[in-house]
Symmetry: C2
Subunit: 305 residues, 2 copies
């Protein structure tokens, strides 16, 4: 099974506490690592979760509040000290790129590791990263400041070879990759064997949307429509719905409503206000609006399958 | 007893590990807090040790390597979120002030809390902070980059009133503060009672020197001569003396030698290389050159008395 795993490094809000670290997640996509947000302490959480610096090549920053990026200087410096070679790309808003570059040019004068800054355009929905197997889209969220969510979409996977049938038709092994991609097979006698006789359907392609920080907004549901698993911030419980609106955040119930509107299969909530000593109330209220809710927690790994 | 307490928030080197946080100490001087260095994660350690943000007014940064200051943006932002009012002064080299100011002007636009930048002149030995009870001096260390140590000196303390004698001479209570400062007392009959008949010697004034990061250098011992307690980096053991020299660091034995040369009463060592799973070898080697050595450790509080 091709790996598509969400690692929760931090799911608190505003300030680190004894219970939660500031925002940071790592997507392990077939052993390549993609970080989303990088709160202070991310580098330590990264190592605690057994992740490898050498596999991290892309970091996506949702917005320019400190709790989402103050871990960057330390993380990048440590990667450099660990002799990571090649290019690490930070996808970030223009002001963030400027400020980060000034620090890294001063504090991390590496020969081996190059930091590239890929500018995210605030307010735009579009693909900002693509390779043979994955795309990453940025899309607007609705916070006190410009904020982007991110959607990770696996491209469609190869079809499964039907072992008995390829044997029956004497399909040579070198043809398998093309058969997996959907090609028909022509026998030496010139008979065309249609692909669907040689293969079965591929595993479904997975997708993951990261929505933090944002007020509840139907346009978010529209943007992430059809995504398999959604992470949506759930800073407050129902009793603080007005505070949520005022500060550009969401309640757990609102997060669940977005997941329902988007037709998601699963919802992960996080970015908890530090007032909660237990997040049970957030889980309970979210589950009233959407069935499959998971509480983010530091150290949690979730496989999308 | 007037409080003069060293709090160790972090005593690792270069990168945070499961065992040690990067450099950070807090001096609790009669309930006012002075931070020295501020590695990533300092704000969390600060709270873990039960310290109060509102009492922290001065932060001293020894040099511009990330493991000594990447905790500043998070710490200052959190202080602001905790509604600390008034001025917080960061004492730092010129480039550090410039880079930090650019970040804080962007990420921490506070109304209530003001951040001031006090420029430390590299290579100079002199007083950079003074109040009625304390001075702080910066002095040069010998690292790969410009680096300052800091000496915290308690001013001489008031003399102790001799209860029986002031009663015998009918010294009025309002005179006590001046008697404690060393004034003689003149009776209504015009007889002068010399101060030493009314008081006993004050408690000794304490002093503390912070020396990190530095190669071993006799000029450091000269600068901290007569200081009561010295913190000196001890990154390596004897077997890595050449590495220490090359990287501008010290061995534990060298740290102890400096303490001996300076005539200190006590030595605290720290800034351990992450290669050590136990610092016992550093302690053992330091103790061969100086008797009273303490291993710094996260959470340790040491009262100077």
């Amino acid at each position: 099974m091709a790996k598509f795993q969400i690692n929760i490094l931090g799911c608190g809000s505003a300030t680190p506490t004894a219970r939660h670290q500031p925002s940071c997640q790592v997507i392990d996509f077939r052993d390549r690592l993609f970080m989303i947000d990088c709160g202070e302490g991310a580098q330590l959480q990264f190592r605690r979760m057994g992740l490898k610096f050498s596999r991290l090549r892309h970091i996506f920053i949702s917005h320019l509040h400190g709790d989402h990026l103050f871990g960057l200087p330390g993380l990048l410096s440590t990667m450099d000290l660990h002799q990571v070679e090649g290019t690490v790309t930070v996808h970030i808003f223009p002001d963030g790129a400027r400020l980060l570059k000034e620090w890294m040019d001063f504090f991390c004068r590496s020969e081996e590791m190059k930091i590239e800054y890929d500018i995210i355009t605030p307010g735009r929905h579009g693909i900002i990263y693509e390779d043979h197997a994955l795309t990453v889209e940025a899309f607007p969220l609705y916070h006190r400041t410009e904020c982007s969510g991110f959607i990770f979409r696996e491209k469609s996977k190869p079809r499964h070879i039907n072992g008995e049938m390829v044997k029956f038709y004497n399909v040579p092994t070198f043809m398998y990759p093309r058969i997996k991609e959907g090609e028909d097979f022509t026998t030496p006698d010139g008979i065309v064997v249609p692909n669907h006789r040689l293969t079965t359907d591929p595993d479904p392609a997975m997708s993951y949307a990261y929505c933090s920080d944002t007020a509840m907004n139907p346009r978010v549901a529209e943007a992430v429509k059809g995504v398999d698993t959604i992470y949506h911030e759930a800073t407050y419980d129902d009793s603080l719905a007005a505070t949520a609106r005022e500060r550009g955040h969401s309640t757990a119930r609102e997060a669940a409503t977005i997941a329902a509107m988007a037709g998601a299969r699963r919802l992960i909530i996080g970015h908890y206000s530090k007032r909660y000593n237990s997040e049970q109330i957030l889980l309970d209220q979210a589950r009233e609006a959407f069935p499959d809710v998971t509480l983010a927690n530091e150290g949690l790994k979730i496989d999308l399958l």
